[in-house]
């Protein structure tokens, strides 16, 4: 296949993701102004989580990558979770 097409091919996936990211950004920004009481934070964080997942899987190529790197990447969230869980053991029972 000719080069220019190949060059275009390269863009497709990342751009799709990028568009998705922008849409999510717009969404979270808009939703922030909708009164949901305590709902706002969870919503915005969920959206953030989705965005992070997109960047991680596609841009950082965890998707195509070997399991080893995926394992490494997973360690981060897991340990953060542990930290919050046990902090909660104190703060939510004080």
């Amino acid at each position: 296949m000719d080069e220019s097409r190949a060059r275009r091919e390269i863009w497709i996936r990342p751009v799709v993701v990028w568009v998705a990211l922008c849409l999510l950004l717009a969404a979270t920004c808009a939703l922030a102004y909708v009164p949901m009481g305590n709902g706002n934070l969870p919503v915005s964080l969920c959206i953030a989580a989705i965005k992070v997942a997109l960047v991680g899987l596609v841009f950082m190529r965890l998707f195509e990558n070997n399991p080893l790197n995926r394992l490494a990447a997973a360690a981060g969230p897991i340990w953060v979770f542990v930290m919050f869980l046990l902090l909660g053991a104190d703060y939510f029972t004080r």
């Binding site: 046990l86 902090l87 104190d90 004080r94």
Partner: protein, 544 residues
């Protein structure tokens, strides 16, 4: 292959390729970097030692008469900071780990040699700050930097001290990254995960902790600096902050950190015991699982340092329970080491003596950890000398013994020379008795209510302190001895040959000292620790 095969055609050993200072300071050879670390941590060990030497002398009398209370506080603080971050944490990983990890898995070097060198420079950077702290008149917060004292009240060089620890933290993160990547990527053909020596496994487990825990400390120190320097309200209660948050963050690092300090010791001891008992390590796979389990569960127990801090009593329950759980894998290791001796063919060279010392002292230290994990008991003994004794039993009795054991065990490999055995045995025995004399009395006075970080104390405790100090003097001598005979052996020691202990493990298939690229021909990988035909005795062993 025997020594006679070592002819002039050989590449020079790592000590002799390049003699300029530059060839050392810019070397990316893991073996040379290991030596750089050996020198640096030795220096800091003696800084920390002198500090505590003075403290021990001060504590000879109940009245604080030798040094002022401010000086006293600065002394134990610098002792803690230096001993933990500038001696014990790098002690085994950055020296033996650096030197042996590639050798043991049959690699030329660590995965990222230049980053390895960077680790050393970061260490030196942090060290510089710490020395600056001393010059600036010291710091008096205790190694725990508790707020609000450290941020709002202390008027000593807290910033410089915190900065030093902050910087040295990145040194251990990078070391951790390097070790993990190396273990995954550079194992020689045939070196499967379950053929790795336990020392490598211990380095792997340690690295996990280094990578996951240290950054949290870095951030916590950053917050301390921000509050103290930029006066941003973060932990300051009078402005709505919560001092306990600091303690949580600090211990989230510092408890796992204690496993950074012990796991490597466990690795060293495993190697030594197998070799001098001429025996396969008992329950190899369990030993491996135990190492990893300790590293992971170690992250769940930090709250046991905060039983009286005002944290929720329910949290106390949770953390107490988890602390008991973390003890189990350690138990497994102790039992396996003991079982390894069974039907062995044991000899008692200095490394083995240190290993025995480790077994006994670590077990005592660990078991007293269980007392501390028991909330009602801890409420009474926390912040007393009982705690001080607990952690010295593990860190000094355990890890430092293991360090000296390893030093003697691999000395022939590192320097190519044999050390004088009888002197070494003497030092080992001195150390053991000096140690117990120093720290056992501290358990007693601790339970009787002697608070730690006390410059003056009620006279009824004097007897215990006098015992402790006399022990420290013995200990001091025992630490200084090796310095002399090891240096002596550099010049006058007999040539070691490749494998003076007839030990298994790839590092012994390299020349001593090894050349830049470690192995002349690819090493032959076999089962770990096969010191004897299936379950049988070690033939040569008994012949002796």
């Amino acid at each position: 292959m025997t020594d006679t095969a070592v002819n002039s055609a050989m590449p020079p050993d790592y000590l002799h390729d390049g003699h300029t200072l530059r060839s050392w300071l810019l070397s990316t050879d893991h073996k040379r970097i290991a030596l750089l670390f050996v020198f640096s941590i030795t220096v800091f060990f003696f800084i920390g030692a002198v500090a505590i030497g003075i403290i021990r002398l001060e504590l000879l009398t109940p009245a604080g008469d030798l040094v002022s209370d401010d000086t006293y506080n600065k002394l134990f603080t610098i002792h803690g900071i230096v001993m933990v971050w500038f001696f014990l944490i790098p002690s085994i990983p950055a020296t033996f780990g650096n030197f042996l990890l590639p050798l043991m898995i049959g690699a030329k070097d660590l995965a990222f040699p230049r980053i390895n060198l960077l680790s050393w420079y970061l260490y030196i950077g942090g060290a510089a700050f710490t020395v600056a702290t001393l010059i600036a008149g010291g710091v008096d917060t205790g190694w725990t930097f508790y707020t609000p004292y450290s941020t709002m009240f202390s008027n000593t060089a807290v910033l410089t001290a915190a900065m030093g620890v902050f910087v040295v933290g990145f040194s251990s993160v990078l070391t951790g990254v390097n070790f993990i990547a190396t273990t995954h990527m550079l194992r020689a053909p045939g070196m499967t995960w379950f053929r790795l020596p336990l020392f490598v496994w211990s380095m792997y487990a340690t690295s996990i902790v280094m990578v996951l825990a240290t950054p949290v400390l870095a951030m916590t120190l950053l917050l301390i600096m921000a509050e103290r320097w930029l006066d941003l309200p973060i932990f300051d209660a009078s402005r709505g902050g919560d001092p306990l948050l600091f303690q949580h963050l600090f211990w989230f690092y510092s408890h796992p950190a204690v496993y950074i300090m012990i796991l490597p010791g466990m690795g060293v001891v495993s190697e030594i015991i197998a070799c001098f008992a001429r025996r396969r390590l008992f329950g190899y796979s369990f030993m491996v699982y135990a190492l990893v389990a300790i590293a992971v569960i170690g992250f769940f127990v930090w709250g046991h340092h905060m039983f009286v801090s005002g944290q929720s009593p329910y949290a106390n329950m949770v953390f107490s329970f988890l602390s008991f759980m973390v003890a189990v894998p350690s138990a497994i290791k102790v039992f396996n080491w003991t079982a390894t001796l069974y039907r062995g063919s044991i000899t008692f060279e200095a490394p083995m003596l240190y290993a025995f010392g480790f077994l006994g002292l670590f077990t005592i230290g660990g078991l007293t950890g269980l007392f501390l994990a028991t909330v009602p008991i801890d409420i009474h003994v926390t912040d007393t000398y009982f705690v001080v004794a607990h952690f010295h039993y593990i860190m000094v009795g355990g890890t430092v013994s293991a360090f000296f054991g390893g030093l003697h065990f691999w000395w022939p490999k590192i320097t190519g020379k044999l050390y004088p055995e009888s002197w070494a045995r003497l030092a080992a025995i001195l150390m053991f008795f000096g140690f117990n004399l120093t720290f056992f009395p501290q358990f007693v006075m601790g339970y009787l209510g002697m608070p730690r970080r006390y410059h003056a104390y009620p006279p009824e405790f004097q007897v215990y302190h006098v015992l402790s100090t006399s022990g420290a003097a013995v200990l001091g001598v025992a630490y200084i001895l090796p310095l002399f005979y090891l240096i002596w052996s550099l010049r006058y020691g007999a040539a070691a040959g490749m494998n003076p202990w007839r030990a298994k493990g790839l590092e012994w298939q390299a020349l001593s000292p090894p050349p830049r690229d470690n192995f002349l021909s690819p090493p032959v990988v076999g089962e770990p620790y096969d010191y004897h035909p299936q379950e049988g005795p070690d033939a040569e062993g008994d012949a002796a």
